[in-house]
Each structure stands twice: as structure tokens, then as C-alpha cells.
């Protein structure tokens, strides 16, 4: 749904829509009270429909490209693994590794905040995988793998991303970053 107060221009358009709706309601009510009630229902429904069906500005834009790099002798690897992953192979010369496991949750769970079990499961996987990789630490990520990668890159400048998952997951991560992405 489009936020009618997202910007001044949006708010101005919303104001114009409300004025038109008010004129329709007053005009209909002048003719007949129940016609006015019907016009009010239609006007409110029309404005809500307009807000819902209008595309959100920028929603169709390609995802932002994030990039990072490190100096000589340093190779940072970001590992993305789904909860329950048994093992992940990382190149031997990695000097710093972060294993991020997204706390996958359903829409209802995410919206209601009932993600404790999902986060515990992700944390267990992250710590277990990190324990078997030199110079690694585990982190719990957002409920969306792509978002978890973006969040991790904000504090961890990785040179490479290793994804443990299916092709769609690898493609989703590749679509968000410019650094090399490989499949574990």
C-alpha cells in the first residue's frame, strides 16, 4: 500500500483526492441523504483502492549493488547458510569468516515477532558451522536471506560470499551485491 504521507508531493495528491471526494459526498448528500451515505462509502473505498493499487515509487527498481574490498593478505568471506545446514567448505586462505544464518520465519511470525524459535535454530546452525571453520564467527541474520546479506555487509566488508543453498538463493544474493558469489 502506498503511504499517502510519504512525501510532500504524495500528501498534496492525497489532499486533492480528499477534496474531490468531499465535493462528491456533499453534492450527493444535497440531493438525498442516503445518496450521500453511498457516495461517502464509495469515495472512501475509491481513495483506499487508489492507495493500494498505485505502485510504490522505486519498488520496481533493481536492488542496490553493494561492494567492498580488503587489503593485501586479507581475505574476508561471508558465508550464508540456511538453518539446518550440516557443513560448509571455505577456502583455506580466508583470514576472517562470518557465517550468517537467516532466521527464516513465516509472514505471520515475522509480523507478530514470534521468531524466538526460528532465531534459536539459526543461532545453533551459525555457531555449529563457525566452530568448524578457522577464524570464523556465527551470526543470526534477518528473516530474508538477501536482507541478511545486506545487513552483514554493513559491518563486515567481505571479499567473497559463499552461499549454501539452492540456485534461487544464490541468484538472489548475486542480484544484491557486486562482489563474487559462489555456491558452497
Amino acid at each position: 500500500m502506498r503511504n499517502p504521507l510519504r512525501s510532500e508531493a504524495e500528501a498534496f495528491r492525497f489532499l486533492v483526492a480528499v477534496i474531490i471526494g468531499a465535493l462528491v459526498i456533499v453534492g450527493a448528500a444535497y440531493l438525498n441523504t442516503w445518496l450521500g451515505v453511498a457516495a461517502a462509502i464509495l469515495a472512501v473505498a475509491g481513495i483506499i483502492w487508489w492507495l493500494i493499487q498505485e505502485p510504490i515509487p522505486g519498488a520496481a527498481d533493481p536492488a542496490p549493488k553493494l561492494a567492498s574490498g580488503t587489503g593485501r593478505g586479507v581475505h574476508r568471506v561471508l558465508v550464508v547458510a540456511l538453518p539446518g545446514t550440516e557443513s560448509v567448505q571455505v577456502r583455506a586462505d580466508a583470514t576472517d569468516v562470518v557465517v550468517v544464518v537467516p532466521a527464516l520465519a513465516s509472514t505471520v511470525q515475522a509480523l507478530t515477532g514470534a521468531v524466538d524459535d526460528r532465531r534459536a535454530e539459526a543461532e545453533e546452525t551459525a555457531n555449529r558451522l563457525a566452530a568448524h571453520i578457522p577464524n570464523a564467527r556465527g551470526e543470526v541474520g534477518a528473516d530474508d536471506p538477501g536482507l541478511a546479506v545486506e545487513d552483514a555487509l554493513r559491518t563486515f566488508g567481505a571479499d567473497e560470499i559463499v552461499v549454501s543453498g539452492d540456485d534461487s538463493l544464490v541468484a538472489a544474493v548475486r542480484g544484491r551485491v557486486t562482489i563474487p558469489v559462489s555456491r558452497a
Binding site: N3, L5, R6, S7, E8, A9, A11, F12, F14, L15, V18, I19, A22, I25, V26, A29, G36, T70, G71, V74, A110, L111, G141, A142, D143, D144, L147, A148, D151, R154, T155, G157
Partner: protein, 201 residues
């Protein structure tokens, strides 16, 4: 070499950017919460209006009182026009027209002030007070609540106008005008609803 290493070090040791992982953008969530709180606030008074007028069947306005519909209509035109001027102000600064922004903000402030003064004069001459029955109470609550919002909007506009005349806004950086505009349009939307329900219908 040492300088390069130091630069690399600095590149990776910058403070982390704001971190959020919610599916809802924080600023969007904040605006939704703001709208929700305002809807509940005005909704409470509109509920009282509904019960007084529809459920109880109280005549609106209760005889022998009359509402100054035409004065309020002129006031409505002033407020709607002021939304146009602040829209012009923002459009101007986006295109580098500083004079247009200053003139737009000043006109918006003056029209908002005119609206508030006119409403004050209307109150003083309307012939009834808050204690003259449920109709009068609801009338003053709804229009007064909106007047309070106009006062807040005027305060914001005053600061933005002063800042505009001190050269604070540029085509790239004018968030203050943008936010003042959003608030002012919201106040205008609420007045359209109040005017329609209280004065006309």
C-alpha cells in the same frame, strides 16, 4: 605502504551504518504510527459527534444557534490555498528558486495565521459556548482540536520560514520544508473532513 595499510584499515573500521532488518522501513513505520495516533485522536471526537447527532438525534446545529458556514467556507479556501503555496515553495527550492521558496513559505504562514485568527473571531461571535449542550461541546472540541494542529503547523512553518530566509535550504537539502509540507497537507485534509461533517452535512 604504511599509508596504504592505514587507509585500508580506516576503510573497514568506519562506524557501521544504521542497522535494521524489519520488513517495514523505520521512517514508513513511524509515519504509519503517527497517522494511526492522529486517526484515533480525531476518531474519538468524531465518534462523539456521531453519537450526539445520529444516535441521539440532536438537531445540528441545535436551535437557536447557527454555524457561520460561509465564513468557514472562506477560511477553508484560505487553508486549501495555503497548501498550494507550500507545494509551490517546495517545488521552487527543488528547482533552485530560493525566492519562490521564501515567498511560498511566508504566504503559507500568513494564510495559516489568517485561518487561526478568523477561527478565533468566529468563536468570539458565534453566540454559544462549550457548556451550551452536547452540540456546542462537540463543535468546539472538533474545531478546537484542529485549531491546535494548525497552531503546531504554524510553529513549524515559522521556524522553516526563518530558516529559509537565513539560507538554510538548497535544491539538494530541503527536508525541513518537505516535512512541514507533509504536516500542513495532513492538517488541511483533516479540516476538509471537519468542515464537511460539522458545517455542511
Amino acid at each position: 605502504m604504511a599509508a596504504i595499510s592505514h587507509a585500508d584499515h580506516l576503510e573497514h573500521e568506519h562506524p557501521p551504518e544504521p542497522h535494521f532488518s524489519s520488513r517495514v522501513n523505520p521512517s514508513l513505520l513511524g509515519m504509519f504510527l503517527f497517522i494511526a495516533s492522529e486517526i484515533m485522536l480525531f476518531g474519538a471526537f468524531f465518534t462523539a459527534y456521531f453519537f450526539v447527532r445520529v444516535v441521539n438525534g440532536t438537531p445540528w446545529p441545535t436551535p437557536p444557534f447557527h454555524l457561520p458556514v460561509y465564513v468557514a467556507f472562506i477560511n477553508t479556501l484560505i487553508l486549501v490555498t495555503s497548501s498550494g503555496t507550500i507545494h509551490w515553495a517546495l517545488h521552487s527550492i527543488k528547482h533552485g528558486n530560493v525566492f519562490g521558496m521564501r515567498a511560498g513559505l511566508l504566504l503559507t504562514f500568513l494564510m495559516g495565521l489568517t485561518f487561526l485568527i478568523t477561527q478565533g473571531i468566529e468563536y468570539s461571535r458565534i453566540g454559544f459556548n462549550t457548556g451550551d449542550g452536547a452540540f456546542a461541546t462537540i463543535f468546539f472540541c472538533l474545531t478546537g482540536l484542529h485549531g491546535a494542529h494548525v497552531f503546531v503547523g504554524l510553529t513549524i512553518l515559522l521556524f522553516m520560514t526563518i530558516r529559509a530566509f537565513r539560507g538554510h535550504f538548497t535544491p539538494e537539502d530541503h527536508r525541513g520544508v518537505e516535512l512541514a509540507g507533509i504536516y500542513w497537507h495532513f492538517v488541511d485534509v483533516m479540516w476538509i473532513v471537519v468542515y464537511m461533517t460539522v458545517y455542511i452535512l
